[in-house]
């Protein structure tokens, strides 16, 4: 049975921004995309395990604060070196103004 994890309120994140949320011993990055949708990826960069939430969101790209590696946070796809390994993504459910994910 997948476990439902409540991450934050939709109002916690400004538009075109990201926050870090730690749950269940894991770190997540929660994004508020232009247009209003929410996305969740693993919180750590696949290059050198830096917290991505410290990075810059531009459109649908999150740029790592350490070496400016890039990912499309909707798909997790690595979009710019030195990031080469894709980021894990988690499908999001919005309910009552809360951002939740299902963790299996």
């Amino acid at each position: 049975m997948p476990q439902i994890i409540d991450l934050c309120a939709t109002s916690d994140i400004e538009l075109e921004d990201v926050i870090r949320v730690d749950r269940e011993g894991q770190s997540f990055a929660v994004y508020h995309a232009p247009g209003g949708k929410f996305y969740v990826t693993s919180g750590l960069c696949t290059h050198e395990a830096v917290h991505l939430a410290g990075g810059l969101v531009m459109g649908h790209i999150i740029e790592c604060p350490k070496h400016n590696g890039r990912f499309d946070y909707r798909t997790g796809e690595a979009k710019g070196v030195p990031a080469c390994v894709n980021l894990r993504i988690f499908p999001v459910t919005l309910a009552g103004g809360r951002v939740t994910i299902a963790l299996s």
Partner: protein, 414 residues
């Protein structure tokens, strides 16, 4: 028809080879590297590679499999000895020659050597890092000459491995080149806290060997005895091939805004080239930075495929020392005044503007979150923005709000 030949299988060469394929080039691409390895990243060599318990493998940039998949002919241990520019051929150390339609010089840089000092170690290659890591032992005393990025990263690594460290710098402070004094002071304080004996403003008269030890004779008469001496006193652009081929040089291989050399069939990119930067009044600069090598590799591939865009990425550099992250964007004047912005985690961001109020540089040393602010500052520099000093200094005015809105929603490269 002969294809494109790239001399130097480092960051710039590998980036160009991949970008040629991404740009649709279908001719032959040959990447010639003197080192016995496939292209790898150098930044870890002065950081993780010295600290990890087991000797690490190089951080590959382009594996032989990836090269093969892109139909890039990657030749390791292939040193080019001369260029016959009129005939458009390169000569290799193994006696063979190779014809080219276009040639890219991505030969990097070589550590400057201390004249007349034997037994001094340097750090540029994977082998250099392997040789160093076993010798940064507890109980040993390491003398580091040079307070630039490499010297300081080496000092941090040596301390973290338990060695005693003395760092000698002839300039009045560390990081004189390209880092504002206020930011260099944060770095110096962190090294002092870690127990590094920092000696700025000190000139070395000579280095003598006494058995397994080295004596550094300072100009003021002091003598420092060390088990190991490592020099990080800068790097010289690798221009020998270019010079012998008669290409124009100017603190590196001189190229134009499209990274073309003075020969119409030869281009240059990365640490080896000096280029006029449109954002800084066309001033000719040479950078030794990972992002620059990556970006110039991509840009020169575009030029080689007929593109006419000038290269004008904003210079950007990072360094990691202990838990500190250091980043610089733009071209900082070491002693010009700065405007300070205090970030919530205590890190201070320092901006520099020119006489007309245009933002030209930003730098900070501290927590990782400064990366985002430095990146935004870089975007402001790219936009030739003239932000008000009050806005730059106000932590509650987001740097993002100072940007001129761009048409594209998704990230563009600068």
């Amino acid at each position: 028809m002969p294809g494109i030949v790239i001399i130097g299988a480092g960051k710039a060469g590998a980036s160009a080879a991949l970008a040629l394929r991404q740009g649709g080039y279908t001719g032959a691409v040959t990447l010639l590297g003197a080192e016995p390895h496939a292209p790898y990243d150098r930044p870890p060599l002065s950081k993780a590679a010295l600290l990890e318990a087991e000797p690490p493998s190089p951080a590959w940039v382009l594996t032989p499999e990836q090269a093969a998949a892109q139909n890039i002919s990657l030749r390791r241990g292939a040193e080019v000895t001369s260029i016959a520019a009129p005939a458009r051929r390169v000569h290799l150390a193994d006696g063979t020659t190779l014809a080219y339609s276009k040639l890219l010089l991505a030969t990097g840089a070589t550590p400057r050597q201390l004249p007349g000092a034997e037994g001094v170690l340097y750090l540029r290659n994977y082998e250099d890092a392997l040789a160093l890591r076993t010798r940064l032992a507890p109980q040993s005393h390491v003398a580091i000459i040079g307070g630039g990025f490499i010297g300081l990263e080496l000092a941090a690594a040596a301390r973290q491995r338990g060695a005693a460290v003395t760092l000698v710098e002839s300039a009045p402070r560390v990081l004189m080149r390209g880092v504002p004094a206020a930011v260099a002071a944060v770095i110096a304080a962190r090294h002092a806290q870690a127990g590094v004996n920092l000696l700025p403003g000190v000139v070395i008269a000579r280095i003598a060997r006494a058995g397994a030890q080295h004596h550094l004779h300072l100009a003021d008469g002091r003598i420092i005895t060390a088990d190991l001496v490592i020099a990080g006193i800068g790097a010289a652009p690798e221009t020998r091939l270019a010079a012998a081929a008669g290409l124009a040089l100017d603190n590196g291989i001189a190229v134009d805004e499209g990274l073309r050399t003075s020969d119409p069939h030869i281009y240059a990119a990365g640490d080896c080239c000096a280029f006029p930067h449109p954002l800084f009044g066309g001033r000719r600069i040479r950078l030794e930075a990972w992002r620059n090598a990556q970006d110039q590799g991509e840009a020169v591939a575009q030029t080689m495929l007929g593109g006419t865009q000038p290269f004008q990425a904003v210079p950007w550099f990072w360094s990691d020392q202990y838990d500190l992250c250091l980043q610089v964007t733009g071209l900082a004047e070491p002693d010009a005044p700065t405007i300070a912005r205090h970030l919530p985690d205590g890190t201070v961001l320092h901006f520099q503007c020119d006489a007309q109020g245009r933002l030209i540089a930003a730098a900070a040393a501290g927590g990782m979150r400064l990366g985002k602010e430095i990146r935004l500052a870089g975007m402001l520099i790219a936009q030739r923005a003239h932000p008000s000093p009050a806005a730059l200094a106000a932590p509650d005015v987001p740097l993002k709000s100072l940007l001129i809105p761009m048409a594209t929603a998704d990230a563009s490269s600068s």
